[in-house]
Amino acid sequence: MVELLPGVQSTASALTAERIRMDVIAQNIANINTTRGLDGKPYQRQRVVFQTILNQRLAADPGATPQPVRVARIEPDPRPPKLVYDPGHPDANAEGFVAFPDINLHQEMVDLIAASRAFEANLAVLKNARSMALQTLSIGKRT
């Protein structure tokens, strides 16, 4: 199929990947105080790993090809939970300590801003692709 918008594959893949990243950050922030997950353990902070996809259509072309991106995996952050002394908490252990997930709210917010900026940058690419395509379509018309 003809690609009407140049580079739209890369841009669309990046928008999806960044949105997944924002979802994961939202999940981390939402579970900042979760002391008991489905497995009975405190919530583990998750993080995304990005990876390029080989562009099959252009792989035969010599030289570099545009590369879309995808979330390769969402992996748990191995940081151990932090222990807070709160003997009245239902999830407190024998010594009165509660294991909270070690999530730094500031770090998550910075990640969130970085993700939304990357999302905006890709939207700017899409806007430019659109105006380039419209301009190409107007070749031969009187302005």
């Binding site: 890369s10 990046a14 030289g63 570099a64 692709a129 105006s131 031969g140 009187r142």
Partner: protein
């Protein structure tokens, strides 16, 4: 021959530059998509295209111009900005994106004006 109408050096060059601009946009789209992919090396138009284009234009060689094929390559001049091996810089990519948009507008207008001038010469009417 009717093809002689579309064989002017500048017209063929403008078409090739338009191809290159669209390819460059794909490269920038790919670079911005992989802004945070570890180990990604930024890609750009191969500099040999610019050199060949200038040579062919200087020689007025339309056939050579028509055979030119813009290609992408990994940018060897890009420096590592972060420790994860990624060489993309958000600001420079966004600047180049805008430059590329203006270059595209210039090239489409060049092609349009060539076609409109041809039409004027044929019909005698200015549209």
């Amino acid at each position: 021959m009717i093809s002689a109408l579309f064989n002017q050096t500048t017209y063929v060059a403008a078409k090739k530059m338009l191809d290159a601009t669209v390819l460059r946009h794909q490269a920038i789209a790919s670079n911005l998509a992989n802004l945070e992919t570890p180990g990604y090396r930024r890609i750009d138009l191969a500099p040999s295209f610019q050199a060949h284009l200038q040579q062919a234009l200087a020689a007025g060689d339309t056939h050579r111009l028509a055979r030119l094929q813009p290609r992408l390559q990994v940018d060897p001049a890009a420096t590592l900005g972060t420790r994860d091996g990624n060489t993309v810089s958000l600001e420079s990519e966004l600047t180049q994106l805008q430059e590329n948009l203006i270059a595209h507008a210039l090239e489409t207008q060049l092609i349009s004006s060539t076609l409109l001038r041809l039409r004027l010469a044929i019909t005698g009417r200015p549209f």
